[in-house]
């Protein structure tokens, strides 16, 4: 199946990004396709490379980035939501890109299922 993933919360405060990451990794492991992961609302913080969690904790920014590189996943951060929160290209983690809400709409159209992870 072809999945689109929508992540609406940032790392740490809510579990949504962890759940989305694990769902995405599990779907790939089962041979499913991930059409796109779109980050909206506070979800845009998942693309902030300045995050430095403690060394014995998970780092969702690098986890997403690594997963994206390994599987060639399109990781898209909403431009309007990102600028509102100070996320610009200069602090965007490698593997992410900033684009418009149309990319979310397109994911809903192209994917068999769009799975929303929020609070």
């Amino acid at each position: 199946m072809k999945f689109g993933i929508l992540v609406n919360e940032g790392p740490f405060t809510h579990q949504a990004s962890d759940s989305a990451y694990r769902f995405t990794a599990a779907a790939l492991a089962k041979g499913h396709e991930i059409y796109r992961v779109f980050f909206y609302n506070d979800g845009v913080y998942n693309g902030n490379k300045l995050l430095e969690p403690q060394s014995d904790d998970r780092n969702l920014v690098t986890l997403w980035s690594t997963l994206g590189k390994e599987h060639g996943i399109d990781l898209v951060v909403c431009v309007a939501a990102a600028l509102r929160r100070g996320i610009e290209d200069e602090i965007l983690q490698e593997g992410f890109r900033i684009s418009g809400l149309g990319q979310m709409v397109e994911a809903g159209i192209q994917a068999d299922r769009l799975v929303v992870f929020g609070d």
Binding site: L6, N41, R84, E106, G108, I109, L114, V116, G118
Partner: protein, 114 residues
């Protein structure tokens, strides 16, 4: 279908959901919007945000009609629980009981909650 369940202020979900609804409509999608739980308060008339210093964006819901978003549903139970009726809202809506709303949701290709 976009589902709004939260109060208009205090978090940004309501405003950012409205933004994505307008974009989806601009992409010629068959967009519908639902308001339930505290989300019904997003449509309440006479909002005054001066005391909290946040932008009152309730007038923007009027733009839904300009974007041909005409399927706007409000859950009856949520209105009743808050002492509201359709007359208290800034735009015309279709008020549906939860059972009917469930059927409308089941017909959707994509449901995005906010």
């Amino acid at each position: 279908m976009y589902v709004n369940r939260r109060a208009p202020y205090g978090t940004i979900y309501a405003l950012e959901c409205l933004e994505v609804v307008l974009v989806a409509a601009a992409f010629d999608q068959d967009v519908s919007v639902v308001f339930l739980d505290d989300g019904v308060c997003q449509l309440k008339k006479n909002q005054d945000t001066t005391g909290i210093g946040m932008k009152n964006f309730s007038k923007t819901y009027g733009a839904l009609d300009d974007y041909d978003v005409e399927k706007i549903y409000v859950e009856k139970e949520s209105l009743d629980a808050r002492g509201l009726t359709a007359d208290d809202l800034v735009i015309p809506v279709e008020v549906l009981p939860a059972d009917d709303l469930r059927e409308v949701m089941a017909q959707q290709d994509v449901v995005i909650s906010s």
